[in-house]
């Protein structure tokens, strides 16, 4: 059996989640912001799989399956929203997309 403790996986997941937060907060390109959200979803998936394997419970992996399905549909809908935005204002800079701001 492996000797890697659970904490290592959780720390890796936390670091990747924080890098995703940095990307969402600092980048201005809408597509890269979207990719950072995918990175955050993946880091949560990692901690779910780690808990599932360490506690011997299958529910974590079932939840990861559903998270991946939701992430796929979310990526499709979000990218089509970006395409529709790009058609109206010819940019993906999220600072210039402020028509919903009052």
């Amino acid at each position: 059996m492996t000797e890697i403790p659970l904490n290592y996986y959780l720390v890796l997941s936390a670091i990747m989640f924080s890098i995703g937060v940095i990307g969402v907060l600092t980048r201005r390109n809408a597509i890269i912001v979207f990719m950072c959200i995918e990175l955050m979803l993946n880091s949560v998936n990692l901690s779910l799989v780690a808990f599932s394997a360490f506690y011997g419970n299958t529910i974590g992996q079932i939840l990861v399956f559903f998270v991946i399905a939701v992430a796929a549909s979310e990526a499709a809908v979000g990218l089509s929203i970006i395409i529709a935005l790009f058609r109206n204002k010819v940019t993906v800079n999220i600072d210039e997309i402020n028509i919903m701001k009052w």
Binding site: M1, T2, E3, I4, P5, L6, N7, Y8, Y9, L10, V11, L12, A14, I15, M16, F17, S18, I19, V21, I22, T26, R27, R28, N29, I31, M35, C36, E38, L39, N42, N45, V49, A50, S52, A53, F54, Y55, G56, N57, T58, Q61, I62, F65, I68, A69, V70, A71, A72, S73, A75, A76, V77, S80, I82, I83, A84, T91, V92, N93, D95
Partner: protein
């Protein structure tokens, strides 16, 4: 320091490095490729955790389908010349770094580190749990309702994408 821990650290460091490079990269296409590298590293970690089904799904769905969608949209919008978006705002960026550091600290404290969970070895039936047979059996018996709702979600996503992305009707 046995072989497995060294291997884990190698994969973990490459995952973190590729995600940092993904965030700091100016060119969106390179950013997508680095994110694919990160997903492959995660798939290897899933294999270390004996989650074979999730590892394969990770490569098939994430690295295969979703990232191709991202690449396709980047090339459709022709964003190559827009890689130099004006990103000045140094005070806001500094605030963002501080907030992300606080988030990391909060997660680590929430996990109870440096003591954390006392678990040091994988559960003995983890090998059985990760197989396609086991996951499929519980997906089609205990979790049949969420599974069916997922199909409705995908249908709604398909319809929504077609309506959002098609040309405006007069």
């Amino acid at each position: 320091m046995n072989f497995e821990i060294i291997f884990f650290f190698l994969i973990a460091i490459s995952a973190i490095a590729s995600s940092i490079l993904m965030v700091t990269q100016r060119n969106p296409v390179k950013s997508v490729l680095l994110l694919i590298v990160n997903f492959f590293c995660l798939a290897i970690i899933y294999l270390i955790l004996h989650a074979q089904f999730i590892a394969i799904i990770q490569i098939l769905v994430y690295a295969g389908a979703i990232m191709v969608l991202f690449l396709f949209v980047i090339m459709l919008l022709n964003l190559g010349n827009e890689s130099q978006l004006t990103e000045k705002m140094n005070h806001r960026k500094l605030l963002a770094y501080i907030l992300s550091g606080v988030v990391l600290l909060e997660i680590l404290l929430g996990l109870g580190l440096p003591f954390g969970h006392g678990l040091v070895s994988i559960n003995s039936n983890a090998v059985e749990i990760g197989t396609v047979e086991f996951i499929g059996k519980s997906l089609y018996t205990n979790y049949i309702l969420p599974f069916e709702i997922t199909s409705m979600l995908l249908l709604a996503a398909i319809v929504g994408v077609i309506i959002l992305a098609k040309k405006k009707f007069q």
